[in-house]
């Protein structure tokens, strides 16, 4: 007989440090059982379903200085604790980095975006999350702060396995650095989802920088929900580099190679072969939109 019981998280200790150094000390002392609580929009469901049972939650929400969006000489810098709603409504991001805006507005639902953070979206390591593919396409870096100070990790080295990222247990992701926009650059994130707040059937992130005669000087391509981690589709990127944005054969090949590089699983959202077709089509559409934006359209 099924026992219907309210979903209540397991017991854990809770700490709400007021500084980053205090938080890191707590994580170091807490060992592998200590987990960071940021927006909580992935963690709380996991706790309720008892898929996670940390011994200590270190709530970083009351640490000042971990949120905010700004541009400096070289980078767009997004504080890890920046809520998705703030990313979604940022004019700087909408105008300068539309690929991030595209993704922010399709993450979860409005209530989730009010709490969910951009740092949590990447450091959770869920292959279904939307920001990892965007960060792969943009060639972003993640700043991690731990007991011995700060270090920078490239997005392409960050997503090591499902729900596993290149952070030590006592490191906190503190900032995301995206290379500053240049002229003739543009990007687009496209997601197919069955309903709001569901994970993607598949989603793709395309970032381009155009050069002379509208050739693709740089191409970044990230894929969501079609493998054990977000995927950087290197072969497809390589194929498109140096090609004209009007090269129809190249664009078709770009989509096909991206589909080849994906490794989706058959599940309730579709069969693996269907998802590969979705990847192919979304990549072509996102590429066209990214080029349009890069040309200033």
């Amino acid at each position: 007989m099924a026992i219907i019981a309210p979903l209540i998280p397991p017991h854990f200790e809770y700490a709400s440090p007021r500084s980053l150094s205090e938080a890191i000390t707590l994580l170091s002392r807490g060992g592998e059982g200590a987990k960071v609580l940021a927006g909580g929009q992935s963690l709380m469901p996991l706790l309720k379903l008892r898929l996670a049972s940390p011994s200590l939650l270190v709530d970083i929400n009351r640490i000042p200085g971990l949120d905010g969006i700004k541009e400096d000489e070289g980078f767009l810098r997004i504080g890890a604790l920046t809520r998705m709603a703030e990313v979604e409504t940022s004019d700087l991001i909408r105008k300068g980095y539309p690929i991030i805006h595209d993704a922010a507005e399709v993450i979860g639902d409005p209530l989730v975006r009010n709490l969910g953070t951009i740092g949590g979206n990447v450091s959770h390591g869920d292959p279904n999350n939307d920001m990892p593919a965007v960060m792969l396409a943009l060639g972003a870096q993640f700043v991690a702060t731990g007991p011995s100070g700060e270090r920078s990790i490239k997005a392409e080295q960050f997503f090591t396995d499902s729900f596993t990222v290149a952070l030590d247990h006592d490191e906190i992701l503190t900032e995301i650095w995206v290379p500053k926009r240049s002229s003739r650059s543009g990007g687009c994130y496209l997601k197919l989802e069955q309903k709001v707040a569901d994970f993607a059937t598949a989603a793709v992130a395309v970032q381009v920088r155009l050069g002379e005669a509208w050739k693709c000087e740089e191409v970044g391509l990230g894929l969501t929900a079609v493998g054990p981690t977000a995927i950087k589709a290197r072969k497809a990127e390589q194929l498109m580099r140096g090609k004209k944005t009007t090269d129809k054969n190249a664009i078709q090949g770009f989509g096909r190679l991206a589909a080849d590089e994906s490794s989706p699983a058959t599940d309730i959202r579709g069969t693996a072969s269907y998802k590969k077709q979705v990847v192919r089509l979304l990549v072509i559409r996102a590429f066209r939109k990214a080029c349009e934006r890069a040309r200033g359209g």
Binding site: P6, L7, I8, P9, P10, H11, F12, E13, Y14, S16, L37, G40, Q41, M44, P45, L47, K48, L49, L57, D59, N61, A85, G108, D109, P110, L111, V112, N114, L115, V196, A197
Partner: protein, 158 residues
């Protein structure tokens, strides 16, 4: 068992103090400790938003926030909308437009609509759909709910 933690917060304008287990969810604190059962638990899995409340003015799922996280915050639940025995214009609009059937999702739907209209007093139909897109209703099919929010937006009394 971990020690209880003392929290002080304002719920619908009233100061509340309590000692809570770290694992206690805000929704259970509101319903079981404070008896504010207007906030519903619809799904338990963070999908439905029947438990929506405002925390410092932002609408969130109270099943996905710990009560300890609400320490020092201002909470608004559906019980806090009516003033002086008068329903809030958003509530009146749901009543007038029949924006509910069974009513289970209604408290969350109203809190999302209220949060939307606080930010945007003249939303388009698309903005309304987007604003309530996190709230699940399994009866009406949303048309009447959207019309209710449109009616509330037209009301100039708030």
């Amino acid at each position: 068992m971990p020690d209880k933690i003392r929290i002080t917060l304002a719920v619908n304008g009233t100061k509340r103090e309590a000692a809570v287990e770290p694992r206690l969810l805000l929704v259970h604190f509101l319903r079981e400790d404070l008896g504010l059962t207007g906030t519903h638990v619809g799904c338990d899995t963070s999908n439905c938003s029947a438990c929506a409340v405002l925390v410092d003015g932002k609408v969130v799922k109270s099943c996905s926030v710990l009560a300890v996280q609400a320490d020092g915050r201002e909470i608004l639940t559906v019980e806090g909308l009516a003033k002086g025995g008068q329903l809030h214009p958003v509530q009146k609009a749901f009543l007038a437009k029949h924006g509910l059937q069974c009513g289970f999702c209604t408290p969350g739907m109203i809190m999302s609509a209220y949060a939307l209209l606080k930010k945007n007093r003249h939303p388009t139909r698309d903005e309304i759909k987007r604003g309530i897109s996190g709230n699940v209703c399994r009866c009406t099919g949303y048309q009447k709910i959207i019309e209710s929010v449109e009616q509330a937006a037209r009301n100039k009394d708030w």
